[in-house]
């Protein structure tokens, strides 16, 4: 399985090299090369997975199916876009003396480690290894977040480190519990955390333990995803980190964390009726969606704005998975993809704006369409896509989620307590429509907040002393491509991606 090797080696190699190389152009070249290799190998993997179905490689260490392939696609696409964008961005930072040139090495090293960790977390067969990898992402990114070394960035980094580590260790307890439950069923102890081992026997695992395990996993990885109420680190981190890093955090890391939760859910759903996990996911999803909508309403810092919109969209995706069914799950996955694209676009735009206006205050940014036409377009498109307006793909995915919600409702979740079983059914026709109404209300609130700020920044005349006009850089290429993808997917899904989505859906639905 050569592709897998490449995928694992490329970032490692690049990381090692970027510690020793000193010319920035060379660093970027390495970066692009490794990302290119990554994307290429992902394409190969996708093709094999689509043709042959799930495969294991490197002696049971790697397990690849449509779902992980799909996540890999997101990692590759956003990663590549980021490395294109970084070129001009980082160079300008160095030129402006924000960071010493030598620190570029550290930056790139951490960046590659970050990517590597995410790849491992995606392809790992063992739940334990996956955990290790995800913890590694935290460690790799915490310095990237505090990269500017300002007071605020330090604070953000510290909060990120503490909260995520705590969350992650809770997740580890979940893993331990899973292992604990699997012991009695599986003979071979050393393999007992491998999906390939767990999934076939999952229905014989003890439901009690799995329930507890899932809760720990959900809270733990949920912190990483940024689900309310474990989200608190997210706005700070997104505000302080460099734009390309945030693009990766928002676009990819969240997705990987969601993936980890979904993997766990697959195991649990075998033993426990899926309404349990679904209910929990939908619960947290709604919490995130509604809360984020309100926070979006009162933002005056555009990076925080996007941060909260990330929370909102993760909430939407979670609702999709929680509602379940082909529709909801498909919509959820599709939404992950769209959000990754739209959000990285948004943060690229944010980066450009910050470079030109030197402020994150929305009030101080005006007349973008005159000052930076391309960025203005990017901002507008990302804003519209993030508020799920047609013709952008996010509209399609959000439509699927809400349709699933209105058609199935949240499957009545069993709240078992010592007082006996009590159920809350949220699936009769009217409460379904009611839930859809809540969904739409929050969506409209978020839209209002987002568009109010967006338009305020885009239109008008730029303030004095802000240069007008925008020169074409390599950083604009990903912006264009992402925009095109966002619009295109709204009307027409490329067959491979559609197959990937469909197979991933059926995997998640355990059939």
């Amino acid at each position: 399985m050569i592709a897998v090797m490449v995928m694992l080696i490329a970032p490692t190699l690049a990381g090692g090299l970027s510690l020793v190389v000193h010319r920035s152009s060379l660093l970027h070249a390495i970066n692009l090369a490794s990302m290119g290799a990554l994307v290429a190998s992902e394409i190969m993997i996708t093709r094999t997975v689509l043709s042959e179905g799930p495969v294991t490689a490197l002696g049971q260490f790697v397990y690849l199916d449509a779902l992980s392939a799909f996540i890999l696609v997101i990692i590759g696409a956003v990663g590549l876009a980021c490395s294109f964008y970084m070129r001009s961005y980082m160079d300008e930072q160095v030129a402006r003396g924000v960071i010493a040139p030598t620190r570029l090495n550290l930056f790139f090293f951490l960046f590659h480690m970050f990517v590597l960790a995410m790849v491992i977390a995606t392809v790992a067969n063992s739940v334990g290894v996956q955990w290790v990898a995800i913890e590694a992402t935290t460690l790799a990114t915490t310095f990237l977040i505090a990269f500017w070394r300002r007071r605020e960035s330090l604070e953000a980094g510290w909060k990120y480190l503490i909260l995520c580590s705590v969350g992650i260790s809770l997740a580890l307890f979940g893993v331990v519990l899973t292992y604990y439950s699997s012991l009695h069923v599986l003979g071979d102890v050393s393999q007992a955390l491998n999906l390939t081992q767990l999934l076939p026997v999952a229905d014989r695992l003890n439901p009690h333990v799995l329930k507890l395990a899932f809760i720990f996993i959900l809270v733990g990885y949920g912190t990483k995803v940024g689900l309310v109420p474990m989200h608190s680190w997210l706005p700070d981190a997104y505000t302080e980190a460099p734009a390309p890093v945030v693009a990766m955090l928002a676009g990819v890391l969240e997705v990987v964390a969601v993936y980890a939760v979904l993997r766990m859910r697959m195991i649990v759903d075998h033993a426990v009726p899926s309404t349990f996990t679904g209910g929990l996911l939908a619960l947290l999803g709604f919490a995130s969606f509604v809360t984020a909508a309100f926070f979006i309403l009162i933002q005056h810092n555009y990076k925080r704005l996007f941060a909260y919109s990330s929370i909102e969209h993760m909430g939407i995706a979670m609702i999709g998975f929680g509602v379940g069914g082909t529709l909801g799950t498909f919509g959820g996955l599709f939404h992950l993809l769209n959000h990754a694209f739209a959000k990285s676009l948004a943060f690229f735009a944010a980066g450009n704006i910050h470079r030109r206006f030197h402020t994150v205050e929305i009030g101080h940014v005006q007349g973008l369409v005159i000052a930076q036409p391309w960025t203005a377009m990017a901002l507008m498109i990302s804003g519209l896509a993030l508020s799920a307006l047609p013709p952008f793909a996010s509209f399609a995915s959000e439509m699927q989620v809400i349709t699933a919600l209105a058609a199935q409702g949240v499957p009545g979740m069993w709240l078992s307590s010592t007082g006996g079983m009590m159920t809350v059914t949220l699936s009769d026709q009217f409460s379904r429509v009611g839930l859809a109404a809540v969904f739409l209300l929050s969506a409209v609130l978020a839209f209002g907040g987002l568009i109010y700020r967006m338009t305020g920044m885009v239109w008008g005349t730029p303030p004095e002393g802000v240069a007008r006009g925008e020169i074409w850089t390599l950083g604009h290429l990903p912006i264009i491509l992402l925009a095109v993808a966002l619009v295109g997917f709204g009307f027409f899904l490329p067959p491979p991606i559609r197959q990937l989505l469909e197979q991933a859906t059926s995997i998640l639905l355990l059939d």
Binding site: P235, I298, M399, Q429
Partner: protein, 674 residues
């Protein structure tokens, strides 16, 4: 089929091609609006053929995106609206060729042109779409593009505000529309309109009612019914005038289309009487309040925008009456009501577009929208003045123009309410008629003001003094619409049978034959006994009799030549300041209806030092209370923002607090699960 492809292709080219010549605004202008003209020409033919087709023509292509299928269905209703849209589209594109030169340099012609094409295309697709998902996409595209067109002059703060307000309101509307479709989805598990029409398991009564209300609110927001109209008087004037013409004339009609589609097509015209009554009441309220607020406007374009609210109200009066009759099983009357509503729809599209183009010409010539700064323009811009007069006469529903015909039909359908068994409705519909009468009269006053103050008397500003007649393309654009107004007024006997083809499927009865009486000379809603109208005859009468008047003058054999002398100003030379202003003109009305306006007047007088009896200067200003903003919208916004502010404490910045969240969540969930 080919026609549709032609239309589609032309619009597409019109969208793309202008962007290929970034350097040359003139070429961009010609390309964009030329192709728009071609496309809408094709649209006109398509609409007419569609009206004549025996049954609906459909075509669809499935997309790889779930639910989404590009389904087109050209039935009589759709064709009627395609026709309306394309007529207005043709006129505006011709007009635009001249008009957009005003923006040259400030705005990119290419962008403006391709947005214009895209806007027209999206509107056409809205009425053609046969799949809920596809409909939503093109619907939102329509809103989006119109938003971008509204903020064309985004340097102005008020334009930005207007655009934002419009965008958010229309999106709220879309949310309700989405709800409607979700309700329908319950029935068939699919978004295709076919499934909406014939759901596998019919919706329960409650769901149907929900759909009714949601659709009313959702599409009502776009149509600008009271109290959802507040965005309209901001957004329509802010756009470039040819866009305002489209928005006010045509775009809000797509909402009427959708309402018809949902109530009579999807819900099969089976509903309780109170649905129709609700629509009727909303119609009456919109008509009256719309015209009342219009009276107080002295910004010509805002005035026109408010009149759109009024006319939507009139249309809804017709449709509401139709719905009531429908629920009482009075098929013919239902057909009549709907027919009246639709007739007014196309009429309003024509004269409102015409008036907006006229306003655009004034803007072009004087660079101001404030009527107080106009005056005496009829002699400087005779053509514009003449066209504007036609528009004004039509919108004031004066015989023999088109506005009169459709309003007459609405009156008839309201008067025929005595066929209903329920006495409450027997009384309510005539009351609605009375309100309609008041509305009509006030509209007349309003346009007497609009035309009189702008075009007559002496110029009140230097711009007005030096205004010049607008270039030929603009005049041509207005000519098309003016001709349409007159034709629709004089030829109802031709139009009515065509409209009958639209409504007969819904009402389940064809009244086109019975309505044309006196071998094609007169219109007789129920029977010639009850009422009849022949605009050609009236027109003939008017012409002959005015000739008679001239005849008398000649016969009396007085001196033919006229002596010209200045107006009697009590011995002082006449100055513009002596003439009546718009404010002064409507002062009595403001006072009579002060309950509605709640006007606040401020008068500061600065006296001469010598004597307290002579004023040096007086400063007068008044403004009226925007009731709905004050008592409906502001509280709502305040509610949400305060709630959001309350939530700030969640994110207080303390790490310990955040850890506590995780802790509590974990324990809570664990307790849930055990």
């Amino acid at each position: 089929m080919n026609l549709f492809l032609l239309l589609f292709a032309c619009y597409l080219v019109g969208i793309l091609l202008p962007l290929c010549f970034p350097a040359n605004p003139r070429i961009q202008n010609l390309l964009a609006h030329g192709f728009a003209g071609l496309a809408s020409g094709a649209g006109i033919v398509l609409g007419i053929t569609g009206l004549l087709l025996p049954e609906a023509w459909t075509v669809s292509a499935q997309s790889t995106v779930p639910f989404l299928s590009f389904a087109i269905r050209l039935d009589s209703l759709a064709s009627f609206f395609v026709l309306t849209i394309s007529l207005a589209g043709l006129a505006t594109s011709v007009f635009a060729m001249g008009y957009v030169t005003e923006f040259c340099g400030r705005v990119s012609m290419g962008t403006l042109g391709s947005l214009f094409n895209g806007f027209l295309l999206s509107m056409t697709l809205v009425v053609l779409a046969d799949n809920g998902f596809f409909f939503l996409i093109v619907w939102e595209l329509m809103s989006l593009l119109s938003y971008f067109l509204v903020v064309t002059e985004h340097e102005k703060a008020d334009v930005r505000y207007a655009g934002l307000f419009y965008f958010i309101m229309t999106h709220v509307g879309t949310a309700f529309i989405l709800m409607t479709f979700l309700v329908f989805f319950q029935g068939g598990g699919s978004f295709s309109f076919e499934a909406f029409r014939h759901p596998e398991h019919p919706l329960p009564e409650g769901m149907r009612t929900l759909a009714f209300l949601m659709a009313l609110i959702g599409f009502g927001t776009k149509a600008g019914i009271v109290p959802l109209h507040v965005w309209l008087p901001y957004a329509h004037p802010a756009a470039p005038s040819h866009i305002s013409a489209l928005m006010s004339g045509v775009m809000i009609k797509t909402a009427i289309y959708a309402l018809m589609r949902i109530y009579f097509d999807f819900l099969g015209g089976q509903f309780p009487w109170w649905w129709g009554f609700v629509v009727l009441v909303i119609g009456a309220a919109s008509a009256l309040l719309g015209v009342m607020y219009a009276l107080m406007e002295h910004d010509l374009k805002s005035l026109l925008a408010y009149h759109s609210v009024e006319n939507i109200g009139i249309i809804l009066l017709g449709i509401g009456a139709g719905m009531i009759f429908q629920s009482y099983g009075l098929k013919e009357l239902a057909a009549l009501g709907l027919l009246a509503g639709l007739y007014h729809t196309i009429n309003h599209a024509m004269f409102k577009a015409l008036l907006f183009l006229g306003a655009g010409s004034l803007l072009y010539a004087t660079h101001t929208r404030n009527m107080e700064e106009y005056g005496g323009l009829l002699r400087r811009m005779p053509w514009t003045g003449f066209f504007f007069l036609i528009g004004a006469v039509s919108i004031s529903a004066l015989p023999p123009t088109n506005g009169f015909v459709s309003e007459w039909l609405v009156f008839q359908s309201l008067f025929l309410s005595f066929h209903i068994s329920d006495i409450f409705l027997k009384l309510m519909l005539p009351l609605a008629a009375a309100i309609l009468a008041l509305t009509g009269a006030l509209a007349l006053v309003c346009f007497a003001k609009a035309f009189g103050i702008s075009f007559l008397a002496l110029p009140r500003s230097t711009q007005a003094r030096h205004a010049e007649e607008v270039p030929v393309p603009m005049r041509m654009g207005m000519t098309i619409l003016a001709v349409a107004c007159v034709a629709l007024g004089l030829g109802p006997m031709v139009v009515v049978p065509l409209l009958d083809r639209v409504v007969s499927p819904f009402a389940g009865v064809s009244i086109g034959g019975t309505m044309v009486a006196m071998d094609g000379w007169a219109l007789a809603p129920m029977n010639v006994e009850f009422s009849s109208l022949s605009t050609p005859a009236l027109a003939l009468l008017l012409v002959v009799l005015s000739i008679l008047g001239v005849g008398f003058a000649v016969a009396a054999g007085g001196r033919v030549n006229i002596r010209r002398y200045k107006t009697w100003g009590c011995g002082i030379n006449l100055t513009p300041r002596m003439g009546y202003t718009a404010t002064g003109f409507v002062q009595p009305i403001k006072r009579v209806f002060s309950a509605v306006y709640q006007p606040t007047v401020k008068l500061e007088t600065e006296f001469l030092n010598e004597s307290r009896y002579f004023a040096k200067r007086r400063h007068f200003e008044f403004h009226i209370e925007p009731l709905f903003q004050k008592y409906l919208y502001d509280p709502l916004i305040a509610f949400f923002t305060t709630m959001a502010d309350r939530l700030r404490i969640i994110q207080a910045g303390s790490l310990h607090l955040y850890l506590t969240y995780i802790f509590v969540t974990l324990i809570a969930l664990l307790l849930l699960a055990v």
